[in-house]
């Protein structure tokens, strides 16, 4: 392999074009290394060269994100690089968002490895740490040497497709990806050790830091429920008998959409649950216990609700990743809106 070809992305400030007054400039390219690129290339000690530098004003990128990304990618791909380095952006917020956005787009759309670096409080770090490796830097350009020392070894591993170590080993912002490994002590012994440290007020390291949870605010109340078209969505796994879509009993990878036109009551033998995380007997005897079709039909007849939507959506919530649930809902929510549904009853088990 010859020298690794790098395209470097920087903002107007680091390109020496100007500060805030020049932040509006559109993407441009120069076939040379500029500013921080000098230190970066030197860090590779001859193993890589910066073949071009793409420069974009932070305001332009921030205000025209979609167009700017396309323009930047067009400039980058002409050079057919092996690697793209964006920034490092240190604690410059808009620069961080741009560098993270460029690195993510390069990876996703060009399939080329990309890396950037930011200070922990840079908003770009939180936005992009899941999708790209963002090296932890100091909060200003005074930390350039430190940043180069961290970016270079990780960048080389990315280009060579070598295994990437933990955030602590490789100095990147934790991406929140959990991977199994074998320790040298069983879990109960690790728990006793941890408890003794905690009791003695000594430092200890949790194996799983508590996550920040998504909090979803409930929608405002439906104005006139007697006119509303109501749909049922469930993670309780109710499906037609035989589970025709093969929804998994745990860790669901799919959901089903089922027609209940004319169905007044979910009877045993016609409907059942695919859910492997609860005692299925009572759901199989009467699936209305999980999705109340019978009661909603009564309310429909009595005029207490407008109507029950013709289809219900069902998946299994047992051990199912939040990302899967989100993906399912993003798809069928569009259908629900298109079908004029005003409200959804969500049931779980």
């Amino acid at each position: 392999m010859g020298k690794i070809r790098i395209v470097h992305y920087i903002n107007q400030f680091f390109a020496g074009i100007g500060g805030e007054e020049m932040a509006h400039i559109k993407p441009e390219v120069r076939e040379e290394k500029i500013g921080p690129g000098l230190a970066l290339e030197a860090g590779f000690k001859g193993e890589a060269e910066i073949v071009a530098t793409v420069i974009c004003g932070d305001s332009y990128f921030g205000e025209n994100m979609e167009e700017a990304k396309v323009e930047v990618l067009d400039l980058i791909k002409k050079y057919n690089p092996d690697l793209v380095i964006a920034g490092p952006a240190f604690n410059a917020g808009r620069y961080g968002v741009a560098a993270g956005g460029v690195a993510e787009a390069v990876q996703q759309e060009l399939g080329i490895p990309a890396i950037t670096g930011m200070y922990i409080e840079n908003p770009g770090a939180d936005m992009y740490k899941k999708s790209v490796y963002i090296v932890e830097t100091k909060n200003s350009a005074a930390g350039m040497k430190d940043a180069v020392d961290k970016i270079v070894p990780l960048a080389l591993k990315l280009v060579k497709g070598e295994e990437i170590g933990s955030p602590a080993e490789e100095h990147y912002h934790a991406r929140g990806i959990r991977k199994n490994y074998f320790t040298d002590k069983r879990g109960s012994a690790r728990a006793v050790d941890m408890l003794i440290k905690k009791l003695n007020n000594e430092p200890f390291e949790t194996e799983f830091p508590m996550p920040d949870f998504d909090k979803v605010d409930p929608n405002p109340a439906v104005k006139d429920i007697t006119k509303a078209k109501i749909a049922i969505v469930t993670s309780g796994g109710i499906v037609p008998h035989g589970n025709p879509d093969h929804i998994e009993s745990s860790s669901a990878q799919r959901y089903g959409k089922y027609d209940i036109e004319g169905v007044m009551d979910l009877v045993e033998g016609e409907w059942e649950t695919a859910h492997g995380g609860h005692d299925p007997i009572y759901a199989n005897q009467d699936a209305d216990r999980v999705i109340p079709v019978d009661v909603l039909r009564d309310l429909e007849k009595e005029g207490k609700i407008g109507s029950l939507h013709r289809y219900f959506y069902s998946t299994v919530g047992n051990g199912t990743a939040v990302s899967n649930s989100k993906k399912f809902a993003e798809e069928f929510s569009k259908e629900l809106v298109a079908d004029g549904v005003n409200a959804v009853i969500l049931t779980s088990t």
């Binding site: 933990s166 959990r178 040298d184 728990a191 408890l195 996550p211 745990s250 860790s251 995380g277």
Partner: protein
Amino acid sequence: MRLELGLVLIKDVQFSDTTKLENGVLTVNKEELIKLISEDEHLASVEVDIAKPGESVRITPVKDVVEPRVKVEGPGGIFPGILSKVDIVGSGKTNVLKGMTVMTTGKIVGFQEGIIDMKGPGADFTPFSKTINLVLKCAPVEGLKQHDHEKAVRFAGFKAAAYLAETAKSLTPDTVEVFQTDPFLEGIKKYPNLPKVAYVQMLQTQGLLHDTYVYGVDAKQIVPTILYPTEIMDGAIVSGNCVSACDKNTSYHQMNNPAVHDLYAAHGKTLNFVGTIITNENVYLADKERSSNWTAKLAEYFGLDGVIISQEGFGNPDTDLIMNTRKIEEKGIKTVIITDEYAGRDGASQSLADAHPSANAVVTGGNANEIIHLPKLDKVIGTLDYIDIIAGGFGGSLNEDGSITVELQAITGATNEIGFNKMSAKGY
């Protein structure tokens, strides 16, 4: 309360004309054992097989795993309230057939039973690839309801274990381990300068294939209470659950609870292990609130300094785990929790269904959603018919060449939450 646990090391298990244990070799009269298990009118047929470590054998769907033990001296018998009367167990002498298990398999009850490979990559994830397993394959009679089916197979495992353990009743064990817990007031006087620590064990109690029994009582119907830790060593707690197989405690796990053993190992040195608090994981909110209030109340009442809390299962019981942790920490008592994770196949999703900042000391048994490929093995005990539908399987899990692609959650004991294994997970 003092228990001497006598370990009779099992080197081999073989079929023979007589059931006896000599020089570490257990011989089993298969017909006699089958006749005993077949006494249950709910079972249409019983087959018995043996699987040994390193053999190219896959056992599935596994329901329960039991360790054969026999009471040698002291009150009561093994499995109180189930096979024995309800005397308080956990004192005197008990002999253990160490190195072997009784395992139950056969037609699936629900979606939940597990896979145990004796060889290959899957073997690394289950403790039962390292034991000699006497496997009962039980077929229910036609039309048997699921709850009765589950119960019949559960009892088959206990009866077989008791039958085999009887061979060790008068044997001198190879090694003896002694465990002692004093009545509370004496216990705290003994080590006045050590922190008082208890083990809070959460028991899975969510219904069919999710139940646990304490002295024969369905643990759904208990309020949190205390045990001498040695009681579990005589089978005071047994499993009626295996959903999902990776993080449910088999009866074997219950009898060999490593949290109890490791707290005993530290007892009198770095902490004072004063006892076990058991609680449940019911599905109703009021039950969850009541039980977690009671665990916190008991922890406070005993003036504890710290507890280890172990969970069983995931999702719904995550709320019980977090309620217990938060309420015990609010009493000023320090907690370490043992759980596992469902972070998605790519490891990028939220691992738990509930969280709280007070849960700042966590031991994890790993991400149960991680995918594993299990190559075809030569022999199957049980059946591969259910691989695609057990928890952790999916349409296409059973490949045409006989290999299997599943999530780790399908492997019995893979992400155990009483700390049985060395597996953990790290953030990247």
